[in-house]
Symmetry: C2
Subunit: 244 residues, 2 copies
């Protein structure tokens, strides 16, 4: 990435400036809430007019890369969408919200050669290894959800069972592996509890249950996680708000 405006480029100046600033944010040269150059400084440094600088900054603000405070300056946005996305799926937060104490037990932790269904879902090559682990989520010591997760080994080498027991999965991927979550896809179906599921969840065989499948993507559009969950139908509900 050239850190100057190319006067012969077919790309507009404001667009080139945007790309320069985005690159600095994604390279971590600029971190969350860091202050950018002032508009005047951008004008001088890149020898462009203030209107051009303002167009670049305005678009970056619209795209949530930065925020502006009059009289103070322009700053790098915290990654709010990623937070929202994770909050959306956070068993821990949801349970705390309704005053329950969340606990997660790792029942099973393996590194395996996946079957063809998992290979297809994770979009990996045959022969690539994946983590497979099953977690039981409890609220106030009552079993709620049984989750089995598949994660490509190559993307996150060196995760151990004890990592999972200590640290929430998403915290691990974000902090240890610098992962950025960009997209998630989730599917719900109703089903009936099988005997072994009923036993683990402490509920009756044939009881109502929600079957959830989740695919999570990073900022390179790679699939970083596939999780299949069984949630107790008497305890679990799903709420969506759609608003402009």
């Amino acid at each position: 990435m050239n850190r100057i405006i190319d006067r012969n480029s077919p790309l507009s100046y404001y667009y080139q400036l945007k790309q320069i600033i985005i690159a600095m944010i994604e390279n971590r040269e600029l971190k969350e809430n860091d202050r950018l150059l002032t508009e005047k400084e951008f004008c001088e440094q890149y020898d462009i007019s203030r209107a051009t600088v303002r167009q670049a900054l305005q678009e970056l603000e619209n795209e949530d890369y930065i925020y502006k405070i009059q009289g103070k300056g322009t700053f790098v946005s915290p990654k709010k969408f990623q937070q929202d996305l994770l909050k959306f799926y956070s068993f821990t937060d949801e349970m705390k919200k309704i005053g329950k104490v969340p606990v997660s037990r790792v029942l099973n932790f393996k590194i395996i050669e996946p079957n063809s269904k998992i290979i297809e879902l994770l979009r990996i090559q045959p022969g690539q290894q994946v983590y497979e682990f099953t977690r039981l989520r409890l609220a106030d010591q009552e079993p709620m959800i049984l989750e089995t997760t598949y994660i490509p080994y190559d993307l996150f080498p060196g995760i151990s069972k004890s990592d999972l027991e200590i640290t929430p999965l998403y915290d691990l991927l974000i902090n240890k592996y610098n992962t950025i979550f960009c997209k998630a896809e989730e599917m719900f179906r109703s089903t009936l509890l099988k005997e072994e599921e009923a036993e683990i969840l402490g509920y009756i065989k044939g009881g109502p249950a929600m079957l959830l499948e989740r695919l999570t993507y990073n900022n390179n559009q790679q699939i970083i996680e596939y999780t299949k969950s069984i949630a107790r139908g008497d305890k679990f509900k799903y709420h969506v708000v759609l608003q402009k």
Copy 2:
């Protein structure tokens, strides 16, 4: 709404122009895909500079009120979110997508004094009447979903059973009553089919089912619909994508 820029107003010119244009769109003086004045014409008509006009139009484009086509002009956006919102819930569209023929049968149509649960959900006053009707949705003649809907009578006086049989509900509310859909809230749970539900849906008692509840809001934040649905668990799945 004054259709001139007030030079003494504390409001900025571009903001005043935005409000003028929004008012024209919401008054239906400008309809979907109508062309607006050109930027030059706005400059002349309101005696402001082109940069000011462009700021107003840029923000309106960001807010999806308008779209611009270089060389052609600026146009009023179709109400895409409303379409998306409805598409999201449109049984008809979903079935067509997978090549099934959707049919809807109105099993029951009444105007009632609602019970306290419905009064609370619809946020109406005791004594106000509501429509209550039950529809069975079929795909290729196979029963899929059983929906019971409650709608405040006062907001939409004069709906008849035959209206519902002829016209999709949302088309009726949009076109006959000029309703604008702004927000919807939906809740899912797993449950087991009761005997009478199983009979209507042509499935086994105790079979898996999805219980859906939906609240729909108009642009005045009034609740215009509460629907409780039972969907066959073996036929129905729900898919969500979250993306920045």
